[in-house]
Symmetry: C2
Subunit: 248 residues, 2 copies
DNA sequence: AACTGAACTTGACCTATGTCAATTTAGGGT
DNA sequence: ACCCTAAATTGACATAGGTCAAGTTCAGTT
């Protein structure tokens, strides 16, 4: 893990700002944020940002790349809790004697902005807007968590996979508009399985099925969704959710 | 839904305070809370507190009874997201143009304290401690959400059921210490299935198995866990989690 | 260009859980 | 005490997805 302290990019010009946590803060508040953000961190693929059991001291915004959050399970496997993409927030947790319930690991080379939690709390009194922005972000995360539960518990394997692809695709498009319906894709089929409660073997069967139907292709760490509407149907994603993700 | 505005119990004497959201706020802060809490609500079994799609305006602390939070699924069923027991917090969501992603319904007769969200936000600047207390509560809820995902995705039916029973039992014990290892239990086997992604028929088979092993009994809306240690083993609950729930 | 380990693919077979269709039990209301 | 409906139970059978055991492909390195 490498720490950068010099020549940090200005938050005002941050490429992920619009969609990021602090997207709707005004310029004045942005200066507060920037003052808190004293570092940028660089992680290589596979490096951990923190481990389950660590005490939280910083929160992070993903500047570039993908991070995976996962819990260790009783049987020595892992359950992926969520993926944090560019612009998204992670690691924020209150409480002095608390520890993380999950680990965070880089899925690609990753660049992060880091914020000391204690200072966020200190500043909070003066800058309530910041605290509320974080809460609002947490609301979104919580709702995604609810959707994960619903997906994992009620959908078939094909529905789950299609649903995951759609949501990752939509979130990535948000910060990085591409002409060719193609997003960088850092997951192995095993990752997908660990996120959805499936074996990688079954994920493979399902992905091939989707490919054969011409709904998507996935080559060279690059995912293309060819028929969004049909995928929404296959995934049994409801229209409201599809709208929230700007898919329709 | 009945609204009480007279003779509300004092927060200082609240039977669920110790374990509730505002448990660790000092007395002075409690007065702020109490000033916000202008109503108590009474719901009968089956009544809804709010519906998926409603705009949030109030947050609630459960004073008495059990509330179920669920999402409607694509196939016309429901996925239970979580159960809110006495002392627990629900319905808090920021954002003026946002709507609830789930519904909240009374599983028993329920009494709630309600707090206007807009005023919480207004007071927040003056009373940061309140906002932080809410965030801390959200952290807990989020971690329980993570545990649900892990449980639903990776455990066998028997493990899931044992796990759910243990957590509900521990949470209920927290506010209502009972001599006889017995807690009031408001779930049908179908509820359990809807929470865990199982059919009620399979839940039935599993519950009977646990009963035959002498691990628990469940009669007259009353759940007794006879062998906590063994249940923890059956549920594959890890020791850290068992400690957090005060089970060991 | 050959080498290597990780990721992906394929096929045969197995099992946990779902489905369907009755039947029994139990708690709340008259 | 009786009725009535929701809940729990039982058994036979079906299936989505898991397991095991080989391959095969592919990206990165020498």
């Amino acid at each position: 893990m490498q720490t950068l302290t010099k020549n940090l990019p200005k938050c005002q010009q941050c490429p992920v700002r619009a969609s990021a946590l602090f997207g709707h803060l005004n310029t004045e508040m942005l200066d507060v944020v920037r003052a808190l953000r004293t570092h940028q961190l660089v992680l290589e693929v596979g490096e951990h940002l923190y481990h389950q059991g660590d005490s939280p001291s910083k929160a992070y915004t993903v500047y570039e790349g993908w991070v995976v959050l996962y819990k260790n399970t009783h049987d020595g496997e892992r359950q992926i809790i969520r993926f944090a993409l560019a612009g998204e927030f992670l690691g924020y947790k209150l409480g002095n004697n608390t520890v993380y319930d999950h680990s965070a690991q880089a899925l690609s080379d990753v660049k992060l902005c880091s914020f000391p939690i204690s200072e966020i709390i200190n500043e909070a009194g003066k800058h309530t807007a910041l605290l509320l922005a974080i809460q609002s972000m947490n609301d979104t995360t919580m709702e995604r968590c609810h959707s994960s539960i619903t997906s994992i518990a009620n959908k078939t394997a094909e529905q789950k996979v299609a649903y995951l692809f759609l949501t990752l695709y939509a979130r990535e498009q948000e910060v990085r508009a591409t002409e060719d319906n193609c997003i960088p894709f850092y997951l192995t089929q095993e990752d997908i399985g660990d996120a959805l409660g499936l074996t990688s073997i079954h994920v493979n069967r399902v992905v091939q099925g989707l490919r054969r139907k011409g709904l998507l292709s996935c080559k060279n760490r690059c995912l293309s969704l060819h028929k969004i509407e049909e995928l929404i149907e296959v995934a049994k994603m409801d229209r409201f959710e599809a709208q929230q993700f700007n898919l329709i």
